[in-house]
Symmetry: C2
Amino acid sequence: MHLDPVAYVEGRLRVLDQRALPNQQIWLDLSTWQQAAEAIETMAVRGAPLIGVAAAYALAMAHKTGEINEAARALERTRPTAVNLFHAIRRVENAPDPLAEAHAIKNEEIAANQAIGNFGASLLAKPSTIITICSTGSLATPGIGTALGIIKTAFQKNLLKEAILLETRPRLQGLKLNAWELSQENIPFRVIADGAAAAFMSAHSVDMVAAGADRIAANGDTANKIGTLMLAIVSDTFKIPFVIAAPTSTIDSKIPSGEQIPIEQRAASEIVEIAQTRIAPENVRVWNPAFDVTPARLISHIVTERGVFAPPYDLGAIRSSAEK
Amino acid sequence: MHLDPVAYVEGRLRVLDQRALPNQQIWLDLSTWQQAAEAIETMAVRGAPLIGVAAAYALAMAHKTGEINEAARALERTRPTAVNLFHAIRRVENAPDPLAEAHAIKNEEIAANQAIGNFGASLLAKPSTIITICSTGSLATPGIGTALGIIKTAFQKNLLKEAILLETRPRLQGLKLNAWELSQENIPFRVIADGAAAAFMSAHSVDMVAAGADRIAANGDTANKIGTLMLAIVSDTFKIPFVIAAPTSTIDSKIPSGEQIPIEQRAASEIVEIAQTRIAPENVRVWNPAFDVTPARLISHIVTERGVFAPPYDLGAIRSSAEK
């Protein structure tokens, strides 16, 4: 897929507005770092690796106006969980040529996606049914994707029977974004309600469950889209390999375990309104964390661009060497 | 709650149209058994116990026009999973006075709800957090409800801290119906996305998970709303008691295990459209069973109007004696 959802062209950032998909393809033309920060905060740009790239370009834009420190602090406040954001900010802040560094981050992520796809597909022995959650393809990363990158690579290698997409409430990234992306590439898939994952596993043979990550602690505990923990638990019950696919830029070596990962709480409107329509009665209270943390013991493999890791995970050293 | 969602008044059936809730309270005025069958099939009336009551009155209406056999066969085709439907049809078909029998079924269900609420609340030792799925109150039964009846009874006895409602995709019965009903009664609750159940259990102390049932096999395997199996598995992981609440009219003594329960597949539109708005790209395929089957080994208790049962379940005899 040649989609480039965050492209820096002649001093401006051209961004595909994911909030409007799949019904409309709206491209935002961002000329200031403030606009870029807003695009991240309002989830026009989403997906941990893509957030990192967008933040890198935002800082490159801020550098030109002498606002790099102010911009860095503002960008840090946009989304608290995705660690790629903080890694990208630190790299660009400290780089002699911020724009060159932003380009480098993007190119590294594109290459990492390709490697993750190949490593992940290497875990499959035959045409496989793979369940996945959220949006983890070319709308969440600058390349082919992480978990969805494994699905695409498997398809190319005749190792995909069917992808099963969790619709992924509350924002329905599976139903809207993953479905749109796989439709574009004619890759076979079906969508299920999130709660139907266990029933699907009970009724069908499933070969792999693959999810992305927003932050991975040194011990392998992984923060990802709300629902991932549920999916990992039911995968364990049905003895299906549960794989986390992420670039090493998603590893936070400073955090020993998942307990230290900050979890973003989001607005009630994400639950009580759908498609601009009020669904719930008035005054309904909700609990709406954007992410949950899956303990490392439920993760069969962590697939990165540097290879496939198995438990017990000790990812601190991997990330530290990558940062050098 | 004095709501009476299926009321037989002077030869007509007055039914609250659950499809319009919570935004509108629309009452359907049904004067023929065919209209009543349609209300069941299109889910204006839903919930296994309430479907049974509506079918009983539909047959009483058909009796007056000499169409009872034809109506019975048509009603059997409306919803395949809820066994209360078949039990009610058999009782009214064989009764000397069909209308009296329909009234009797309704009154028995109202009394059963009350007993279920009391038996269920007796399992709680202190003010409790109870997670539940789908709609199981006065919109799913003719009385206070099954799982929601336990929550309401617990609230009255100062044994409820908070109810946590799964929104229950695809039709959002938790977000729309359970939330509306608890709001009416000022019972404290929050709504979560279905996939957030495991994360909620990980972050909070939960005392009970309670669900209703559409059909219970003799060995305790239980068909209920899609998502119930997921909820039972994560409850088991977090060592939270998982309770099925249902009248004995929901037990199918002729079916030894859950494998024999027919599962209704519903339209793709339930997934790809929400609030009359197309959410997914065109031509998206879905897998959309209305129910899943939870194995008896994951069910801590089955709470009926005849008492609380614990594994191993042998429910065939209980139901047989109830039918006499």
